[in-house]
Symmetry: C2
Subunit: 158 residues, 2 copies
DNA sequence: TATTGTTATACTCTATAACTATA
DNA sequence: TATAGTTATAGAGTATAACAATA
């Protein structure tokens, strides 16, 4: 006898599966990019700079949904490795435009390769059609909820 | 001109969408259960105890994939609110079997209601058939990766 | 001596707010 | 005075390892 009476359950809903699988996928990805000596936030920042280069740190912080102070450490680490550079605006010397260096572009390609392998590992049990189906459904939900494309919302609390 | 040459991109892959949406869904759920004065880990523990009552803390820790020491605080908080109780095993007094109280069963129903509302909010842009499709695909991936059904893997690092 | 649960400690990550420099 | 970036501080959450009770 169960201690609690349960209503008819057909397992967890889609939202729970989404959260659980999302955490799993994020963890796996984090493990993979360790090979490039990158953390997920650093990776996200590199991709964001590649997508819209020349932004100030404030603008980038707003785009990623993080306090500007957090960007400092991330940019510092990437700049120290020569992947990113701050270019001072001559007109307004307060602004630091963010750009990828040549090495930054190079590592971005490797990130893409890791992402591809990761995607294959996660979706391995799906055929091409199912995978496209899944991507379509997920993209619809993401759009419906106003998620910024290409930006992991985990910046807000991860 | 872009600073970096990009290969033909058709947006983020399914795995990235999964991670991003998963984080979003988890955050939304965390906000919702604030109404019950519960955190996500507490909620997960309540559901786990309901699913398999009478387990020792060690067994529960292994099931959830967390160090046993972490359970102490979680159980303490829930026990202090009268939602959970530790029943000492008479035969082996080291063991503390975990059970839900009547209030614990009660709040579990409210958690289910919150979960239902959450599921509707997340999947609002999908019709019933699409939602079932999504759940099927996600369940397949989860199974393929050996995720324990009903357990959020975030216990391992969240 | 081995095991359950607990406590103590330290570490990682993040946000908030104070501070510097430029405007 | 207002804004961009930085630094300092503190808080939440977690893991590791030492500890006490029971076997």
């Amino acid at each position: 006898m169960k201690a609690c009476a349960h209503r008819p359950e057909d397992g967890p809903g889609a939202a729970f599966l989404l959260a659980a699988l999302g955490a799993h996928a994020a963890g796996q990805f984090a493990e993979r990019i360790t090979a490039l000596n990158l953390t997920p936030p650093q990776t996200g920042l590199l991709r964001a700079i590649a997508a819209t280069p020349g932004q100030s740190q404030q603008a980038m912080a707003q785009l990623l949904g993080t306090p500007p102070s957090r960007l400092v450490g991330l940019v510092d680490a990437l700049a120290a490795r020569g992947l990113v550079e701050r270019r001072r605006n001559a007109a307004d010397r307060r602004l630091h435009a963010l750009h990828l260096t040549a090495d930054g572009c190079e590592i971005l390609k490797r990130i893409a390769a890791v992402g591809q392998a990761h995607d294959d590992a996660i979706c391995g049990s799906l055929d091409a059609s199912e995978r496209a189906q899944l991507r379509t459904l997920l993209a619809r939900i993401a759009d419906d909820h106003g998620l910024t494309p290409g930006v992991h919302p985990g910046y807000r609390r991860l």
